[in-house]
């Protein structure tokens, strides 16, 4: 702990301590305390400074946790259903276009006889395809529950269908990250 100065330095130290709190100071400090010169001379100023410091840091962490929770929520929503993260952020047009484009790609891929890959280590290259398909979110889990997207190897459009589904998943990852960045304020 920093030793508390004495004498004339004490007053300057107390003032500096209060000024260093910046904007948060106005929230926690009452006018009667901040403008009372007698209080600044008192020994309690040091204790109050510690309390204000703790309160400031606590409020900062709580607010940052809230922002992060909102960002993760948007990320998860957007991953589960394409565009839902943007809709939850009241960006309806953008979310709608994302939903239409990515859902259409997934649906066309399924109609073309494309395959949704499961995780398997027999063929390591399919692990990449698995992570791409996983980007489709809810569609991936539905395909595993209701057994569709098994792939029709006889179809001439099998490869294109598989590429459509994988492309939709990869685009959905980007869309989810876009929603995440919007909440964090990195994007509009």
């Amino acid at each position: 702990m920093v030793p508390r100065p004495k004498g004339e330095e004490s007053e300057a130290w107390n003032r500096a301590a209060f000024d260093s709190l910046g904007q948060k100071r106005r929230v926690f400090e009452t006018p009667s305390l901040s403008h009372n010169a007698a209080f600044l001379h008192s020994k309690d100023a040091f204790k109050v400074k510690i309390i204000l410091d703790l309160a400031t840091h606590f409020s900062y962490h709580v607010s940052s946790m809230k922002v992060n929770f909102e960002a993760v929520k948007s990320l998860a929503l957007s991953w589960l259903i394409p565009g839902l993260g943007h809709v939850s952020l009241k960006k309806y047009w953008r979310g709608g276009i994302f939903f239409v484009c990515i859902s259409a790609m997934s649906a066309l891929g399924l109609v073309m006889g494309g395959k949704i890959y499961s995780f398997q280590t027999e063929n390591p290259l399919t692990i990449l395809a698995f992570f791409s398909d996983l980007g489709n979110g809810l569609l991936y889990f539905l395909s595993k529950i209701f057994s569709f997207g098994l792939g029709n190897l006889k179809s001439t459009t099998f490869e294109f269908g598989t590429a459509y589904i994988a492309g939709a998943g990869l685009l959905n990852y980007l869309v989810a990250l876009d929603a995440f960045d919007i909440v964090l304020g990195k994007k509009k």
Binding site: C101, I102, S155, T156, T157, F160, Y164, V175
Partner: protein, 58 residues
Amino acid sequence: MIWKSHLLSMILYAIFVCVVLALIRKDEKRAQIKYALSLFLIMVLGAILFGWFMYLFL
């Protein structure tokens, strides 16, 4: 089975990708349209040129 034409399938794929990427990368409407069109042309013309390039090795 729909779209046995690989060219048509590729063009449709490029349209979807361009629209989504333009909305992600650009904020202004004019910039989005410009970016989407340039990306679409690069993807489609690039694929056609590369297809002809591969044809040389048959």
